[in-house]
Symmetry: C2
Subunit: 208 residues, 2 copies
């Protein structure tokens, strides 16, 4: 069964258990799905309302695009745990002969790269979702302003949580070019996403 | 059915829907449960390990205390939506006569106070959970360091998201003493929780 098909309380208790997966990567994907879903909700609570008619096209665009991002995050809950399990599986590989050791080392590098790409893609989803939240600020149903702020907060937790997962996997990767590429791309996302999330939160808090 | 018994994907789609509840309050409670559960996981991945024997008593304490906080957050998912529905129900009350108008106004004030207390209690849970995460930093399984960082990020999103919900409800409350009390208590929690969460995240990021 996919993790996203677990009941919420079962998922949370599974997260709390002494099994290392699902862990912080899948949790960050869930946080991202919360943020993206709340942006959908606010757009849906705005669409079709006379008062916000001038923003109708934007709201339809937000509903469509956040639906794609939300599903991307929900898929990432499982993908991250699969990638983590891929790393764990390498520990079970034999290491008796030099050939076995070399094969194990190579498999570990591949598994760590896969476990880097999943949270990195969550960082991309988070920035994309934050940019949609920003478009909604000041143009959407003011009754749901706090929900838009909560969306930004969860997307910030998602992008930073995914970054911690990128970084912990990069720490074990020997391929310097790969490490440099993902560090610099990840930092490039953070430098846009974090001030954006902070600005949205501050604007909304000041408006309440 | 309680919201925490929904499947994760159904809950997220319900959050995304054009129904205003569940909304940002319940979402913040879920974020809090993620954070608290991850702290449990890290303590469980540390407990019983020879390398961390000197911290065994602390880990058992963390496992016990985070379990209580996690359940508190899971309960809050439903409590917040119930409190929100309490406010919505007042809009359906009759407002034909002066008596009806007065009864409606009084009911709205009571409903808004209930809808303030739920997210405020989530702020208390978030700070308590962050204090437990802080105790685990530097004393727990280093393989799960990123998970502890993700715990702090989600608890920060929970405390700030709950604060937005406190503030939006306070905005409609006429009882100045109540407003002052919850604003000042909420600010008192933020002033402790936010630097704590930021310090944990920075420490863990620097350790990776």
């Amino acid at each position: 069964m996919n993790l996203s098909e677990y009941r919420v309380n079962d998922f949370i208790h599974e997260l709390a258990s002494d099994s290392p997966a699902p862990g912080g990567g899948s949790a960050s994907a869930l946080a991202g799905s919360i943020g993206s879903a709340l942006c959908s909700m606010v757009a849906s609570l705005t669409a079709g309302k006379e008062k916000y008619r001038e923003h109708e096209a934007l709201m339809q665009e937000l509903i469509e695009q956040t639906a794609v991002l939300t599903d991307g995050f929900l898929d990432s809950i499982d993908k991250d745990t699969e990638a983590f399990n891929g790393v764990s599986a390498v520990f079970a590989m034999p290491k008796g002969t030099d050939e076995e050791k070399a094969a194990r080392r190579a498999a570990m590098q591949d598994a760590l790269k896969a476990a880097t790409r999943v949270p990195y893609s969550m960082m991309e989803l988070s920035l994309a979702a934050l940019e949609l939240v920003e478009k909604a600020v000041g143009r959407s149903n003011t009754n749901a302003a706090s929900d838009l702020g909560v969306a930004a907060l969860n997307l910030k937790a998602a992008v930073q949580g995914a970054w911690l997962n990128v970084r912990i996997n990069l720490a074990g990767i020997k391929d310097e070019a790969f490490v440099m590429k993902y560090r610099s791309r990840g930092e490039g996302i953070l430098v846009k996403a974090l001030p954006l999330a902070d600005r949205i939160y501050a604007d909304i808090l000041n408006s309440l």
